[in-house]
Symmetry: C2
Subunit: 472 residues, 2 copies
């Protein structure tokens, strides 16, 4: 392995190959995952500076039989981007590939390196007068390469789709160290298999994404946010349907939040002043991106909410008066994960079922959980418009979180995942599989799909060196 | 092979296995392609009635080593769905799989058999109060399975995407005759590789699509169509950008038509009364789908066109007064292929380049063609919003079309495809590869992409029995 290290040093420069040989070097920023569920030990952290160097690193590793774990901002939630404990894996960090290569306004595209931080891409697009709509909690640190590798979701999926839907082309280093230049600003190209969408979401197990051409959109003239109390999850689904009819593509956000989740925000961050949560089982946050004017957006919202009141779909509502208020409402939604952390450890899920099944799923699964763990508390919130809930289970009042996780996590996961399967859903809606859920797939994924996936993995990575143990 | 035929008859019923053994049976409806460029000879035409029968047919063929050519409505334009001349291939017709399995309004999805005719699906969606937006010239005969297999485009791609973008899940019979039930109404599912998008667009070379879950959309309140004369292709691109900013997702159609193409419609179908074409190099058809009202749509169009006049982007324009006028304008656009057929045979292309490159591509390639074939006439029209042109070359006035095709098709294809490649485009934007362009891919497709495609083909169809000779 020392030959490999020497080769890597000569390829990317000694300064960009970090190893444990120097006892002063702390690699935990790369070796430990975001949620601190795993801490591995890498043979080396390698930080190439361009695509050719990535290809050379992959070729060197392939020749040496060393496996590669690609990493972007290391903000993943499923332990997909940190090395195992063997001390034999090369951690390939993409963060030095951080250039915006081109912005093409007339084509509504930008071509960017994989290591660009998502927020920087949002800013680059905005400075050119456009919107890059991908938006999620980790946007200040996550990289677009990681977003693509995990097909990240976020809050704007309802209108703009997942990361996959925002990508027109890729540059990929294959498991053999070849560079596939599939960067494309084309919206139509039917010359063969959809390799782009195969690499997107493959979590580094088929190749390394080094760059992408992404869709841009015109900036809306105004964004307006409303907050509505709904009497039930069924009412929330009905409000969604009404909002889709009235606002059409203007509806860019539709988040649901359960009373207990909002109560936690109120308890731990009272300064955020959560509205309307005390007398209702759920609140909904709606966002309307309008291409005419704020007044037009407000008129549409008012008419929508009026109809919803009449139908009893909404019992109370506020529309943000200005951008600060709108940000405040989003801030409440985004503070739920922090508030639940303040309350103690909990068992997190990232599930989806068809939107039409959400009310029945919640009713059945809430009751089943309550029977299994009397007093358990449900932090239920998420992207209702996408059928995606973060359906997290908090220990009963007074029960120690650590002990709860140790004793109950497996049982609760099984209960929730079995319910998801009954409703035709997914046990990983937007976070991916990683190591955390790789062992679950054989139970919850269609066996024919799994065998197709294995065939593809063997075909593209016959040595099995690309992020092994992840996904399949 | 007679054992195979007997096996197939016992599987799907003798009435649904047609062979040449009976000299009275005419199989040319299945053996000849839509554009009559190829006429093959099948071992048998097999018409299974459900997914289990499709699987049984594939298993029987795999055991017998017989290759399979799947076919839907047989409206493809690239000779992808008819058998070769060997008399050994099984033509698998999916048209008996024609049920709408379910419509889920709250989830905005419908699940349908692969053999459903596209227009029937548009109707089924409309009857349930929703829009299924896929729309193309062959919609009265083509099937959704064929649309999926070729990732068909059409006139609404600008807003709703290609067929791939309208699909949430698939049911597929693999090359081994296993059924993958990947029907899913989920908008988010990150549990592994994107098999759905791999089968979509694979033209039957990896497996047989037997059903799909498709996205529905709310019906717009009004649809308004405008027709504008623009002074140049560059002006058309500028008008597109302005329309995208002003109408955002309301802009559901943006078609460009060259003067010669419109002149042919005027000449052969004078009753269609083509507006504004005589004094301008290009006309543009814009469609605005509005979720408020026709008055609102009209206001937006008027303001858009006013700005465009002021900027000189548009020199003249009409807005349809009613649905009949709107249909009349679309009819002109859709009559271009018929009008060029009336004028004689021509050399057809289905190319795309980045929208921003369209003006330069046209300027350079028009001139190059004119130098190569003085007097050649360009029937240039297409989906400008997608960067997709049907850039067809008609013989010079008075030259025989048949002779022109025979003598010049190869040279003109090479000239156009080379130009497309220089501008980073695709030689097949929306029609697929089939047999017609399979031999072109090695010249115009990235070699790393081709080797990835071959690896996937070998992995999923190791016997090479699924629609051989197509795509790769």
């Amino acid at each position: 392995m020392s030959t490999l290290i020497a080769h890597l040093r000569s390829t990317v420069g000694a300064a960009h190959v970090l190893t444990h040989d120097d006892p002063a070097t702390d690699l935990s920023a790369w070796e430990q995952d975001w949620r601190k569920r795993a801490h591995g030990r890498a043979l080396a952290v390698v930080r190439p500076g361009n695509t050719a160097e990535v290809a050379a690193v992959v070729k060197a590793c392939a020749a040496a039989g060393a496996s590669i774990v690609p990493q972007g901002g290391n903000t993943g939630l499923v332990v997909g981007g940190v090395p195992d404990n063997s001390g034999t894996q090369v951690l390939l960090s993409l963060t030095r590939l951080n250039r915006v290569r081109a912005i093409d306004g007339a084509n509504l595209t930008m071509t960017v390196d994989a290591g660009c931080v998502l927020q920087n891409l949002q800013t680059a697009a905005a400075q050119a007068g456009f919107l890059f709509p991908l938006s999620l909690a980790a946007e200040g640190s996550c990289t677009i390469g990681g977003n693509l590798a995990t097909n990240a979701g976020g809050t704007q999926v309802l209108r703009y789709g997942n990361t996959r839907d925002l990508c027109l082309g890729l540059e990929v280093v294959t498991a053999q160290g070849e560079v596939w230049d599939g960067l494309s600003g084309l919206r139509k190209d039917n010359t063969g298999y959809d390799l782009r969408d195969l690499f997107v979401g493959s979590e580094g197990t088929l190749g390394i994404i080094t760059a992408a051409t992404l869709k841009l959109y015109p900036q809306p003239a105004a964004k307006l946010t409303a907050w509505a109390a709904v009497p039930s999850m069924q009412a929330a689904v009905e409000l969604l349907g009404l909002a889709q009819q009235r606002l059409a593509a203007g509806l860019t956000g539709f988040e649901v939040m359960g009373q207990f989740a909002l109560g936690l925000v109120d308890k731990h961050f009272p300064q955020l002043r959560v509205p309307l949560w005390q007398d209702t089982p759920y609140c909904v946050l709606l966002e309307n991106s309008d291409f005419e004017s704020e007044a037009h957006a407000r008129g549409l919202f008012e008419s929508l909410l009026e109809t919803a009141f009449e139908r009893g779909t909404v019992t109370d509502a506020v529309v943000a008066e200005n951008l600060t208020q709108a940000k405040g409402l989003w801030n409440i939604r985004e503070s739920i994960p922090l508030a639940q952390a303040e309350e103690g450890l909990n068992i997190k899920h990232d599930i989806s079922v068809p939107v039409s099944s959400i009310p029945a799923f919640c009713e059945a699964t809430d009751a089943e959980l309550q029977r299994a763990i009397p007093g358990m508390r449900l932090v239920n919130f998420g992207h209702l418009g996408d059928g995606n809930l973060h359906y997290n289970v908090q220990a009963p009042e007074g029960v120690d979180g650590k002990a709860f996780l140790r004793d109950e996590e497996e049982r609760i996961n099984t209960l929730v995942f079995d319910a998801v399967a009954r409703f035709g859903g997914s046990i990983s809606a937007e976070h991916g599989v990683g190591s955390l859920k790789a062992t679950k797939l054989p139970h919850y994924k269609n066996p024919v799909a799994l065998s197709l996936m294995r065939a593809i993995k063997s075909a593209l990575d016959p040595q099995g060196l690309m992020n092994p143990g992840r996904v399949i």
